[in-house]
């Protein structure tokens, strides 16, 4: 067993006596006594616990904001961890982000402020434009309940245009320090084990040794079991460091990416090949969540409202499952077998997800209805892939989430529209057809009747958008 080692606000830090299921937030607050990082919701929603992780990339650091409340301690191994206490210079001079928050009067009770400061710190280092959409996206993972966002957004704009901070010069030095420390692959404390294999071979060995271990990809779902339920998970195997699971390959007819690739990492590719999928991913959690969460994890969780699943169903994606015995490829449709149930067998891992490119003339769009635009759970989500031939429907793949115990295709609808003209004339039948496919539940997000009507409405929107030359995205208004 080895210790978890990382840099905390630039200083080398080693931990070997904290349980692996202790959250990074709890470790910071109770062990390091750095209480600037706050616990608000403890479920990755409010962003008060936001810290920034620096990962060594090409001799420098890449900065990413994450929710420390959802992370287990060993997940920060070999990272440069930055908290709100570490931004001001040794002489007390404030970081430009901190100064901007003061100058724009962007604090009131101040409880959310450290989280905002850290989200802005990551944004400051991201080299992105400071337009409204980007600033809003960068801050969508942080909630403020008193000041209001106008002044906070203004602070973020100001620093985006400001000069480079001292961390730009420090990053290569910190990166070198990180590179000189071997990563921890096996962390144990008491009866708990946390393994971080670096290769598929080591992963399979770990899985054989600990058959009941839980696989952790980004942990944005699993993290709730430690942050909310305070479970002392006996054995966890983290996939993040497995090098074979980190690839993104674009072939002639499909894109394939590994099981440990995060939403943030795949997003630029989705933007390029499936822009509507990319736009949807920006509404999955927040940046803090997307910097940790993975598409493969979303599949393995198999939630009926896992937002990437309807997209993958409509796009006819497949998963590559690997085990010591070999590999097999399953369509996503066959992989998701029920409510939070998948075809993943013991000893298997999702090695890759493969999405075929859209053939010429095919249209793909996904629509998400939720109470809040950002960072909310879908009430209904619909993804459509359409192929027309001479004005008629050659093939429609219509996949829905939030309509059944699992995300699934509307087969009755798909069959009925095949060969029909792609025009509004037949659209009045949609409700009847969808009622054959789905018997949705009614809950606090929406009644059963609402879900059916909304599901039909989304198809009408898709028909309208694909039949008009003018792009009509309500989201863009």
């Amino acid at each position: 067993m080895t210790a978890v080692q990382f840099l905390l606000n630039g200083k080398p830090c080693s931990e070997d006596s904290a349980p692996p299921s202790m959250t990074v937030l709890d470790w910071l607050r109770t062990r390091a006594r750095l209480t600037g990082t706050k616990e608000g919701c403890a479920e990755g929603d409010c962003g008060a616990c936001t810290i920034v992780l620096g990962r060594e990339v090409d001799g420098s650091l890449r900065f990413q904001a994450v929710n420390s409340c959802l992370m287990m301690l060993p997940q920060i191994d070999n990272r440069a961890v930055f908290t709100v206490e570490g931004l001001a210079a040794a002489d007390g001079a404030l970081h430009p982000v901190q100064q901007a928050m003061i100058d724009t009067d962007a604090t009131q009770c101040g409880f959310c402020t450290p989280g905002f400061v850290m989200a802005m710190f990551a944004f400051h280092h991201g080299g992105e434009p400071a337009d409204s959409a980007t600033v809003h996206e960068a801050l969508a993972g942080n909630l403020c309940r008193c000041t209001g966002y106008r002044s906070i957004v203004e602070a973020c704009r100001r620093v985006a245009q400001g000069p480079a901070d001292r961390f730009v010069a420090e990053a290569p030095v910190l990166a070198e320090k990180l590179a000189s420390v071997p990563p921890c692959t096996d962390y144990r404390c008491g009866t708990q084990t946390f393994l971080m294999p670096r290769s598929l071979d080591a992963l399979f060995a770990a899985m054989e040794q600990h058959p009941s271990a839980i696989l952790l990809a980004g942990g944005t779902d699993l993290g709730l079991r430690v942050s909310k339920d305070r479970e002392a998970l006996p054995a966890v195997i983290a996939l993040e460091g497995v090098r074979e699971l980190r690839h993104v390959t674009t072939g002639a007819d499909a894109i394939e990416f590994g099981g440990a690739v995060t939403y943030s990492e795949i997003l630029p590719h989705l933007d390029r090949y499936f822009p509507s999928f990319g736009a949807l991913v920006r509404r999955i959690g927040s940046r803090q969540i997307r910097n940790l969460g993975t598409v493969a994890g979303n599949l393995a969780t198999a939630s009926p409202i896992g937002d990437s699943i309807p997209c993958l169903l409509a796009l006819d994606a497949s998963v590559k499952l690997m085990s010591r015995a070999g590999e097999r490829v399953l369509p996503v449709e066959a992989f998701i077998t029920g409510y939070r149930k998948t075809a993943l067998a013991a000893g298997e891992v999702i090695a890759a997800v493969r999405i075929p490119f859209l053939a010429a003339g095919r249209k793909f769009s996904v629509y998400k209805l939720s109470k809040r635009f950002d960072q909310d759970i879908s009430t209904v989500i619909a993804a459509f892939r359409l192929e027309r031939l001479g004005g008629k429907v050659q093939e429609l793949r219509a996949a829905y989430g939030g309509m059944a115990a699992r995300a699934m295709r509307a087969v009755a609808l798909e069959t009925a529209v095949k060969g029909r003209p792609w025009e509004p004339a037949w659209l009045p039948d949609i409700e009847t057809l969808l009622a054959r496919d789905f018997t949705p539940i009614g809950d606090h997000r929406g009644g059963a009747a609402y879900r059916l009507r909304a599901a039909a409405g989304l198809l009408r929107r898709f028909q309208f958008e694909t039949s008009s030359n003018v792009p009509v995205r309500v989201e863009a208004l």
Partner: protein, 74 residues
């Protein structure tokens, strides 16, 4: 007329900096949850009535007192 106005500091139309702003942005501001509790601190948990409108006739503390680590009743 102009002279007293020019001497006025703060007041209407002048931004006043939040007293705790520096504490907020540096994480130094202390909230109750940031204060470490003493090792012997007792914790209390509320037991709420399951009935919206009822009279409390008596309270049986024995199961609560029998729970491990319970410090004492009222």
């Amino acid at each position: 007329m102009n002279e007293p106005l020019a001497r006025t500091r703060g007041g209407v139309h002048a931004a006043v900096r939040h007293d705790s702003a520096v504490g907020h942005v540096t994480g130094a501001a202390r909230y109750l949850d940031d204060v470490p509790s003493e090792p012997s601190t007792l914790e209390a948990a509320l037991v709420l009535s399951p009935h919206p409108h009822a009279r409390i006739c008596r309270i049986d503390l024995s199961p609560a007192l029998a729970a491990p680590g319970v410090g004492g009743g009222p």
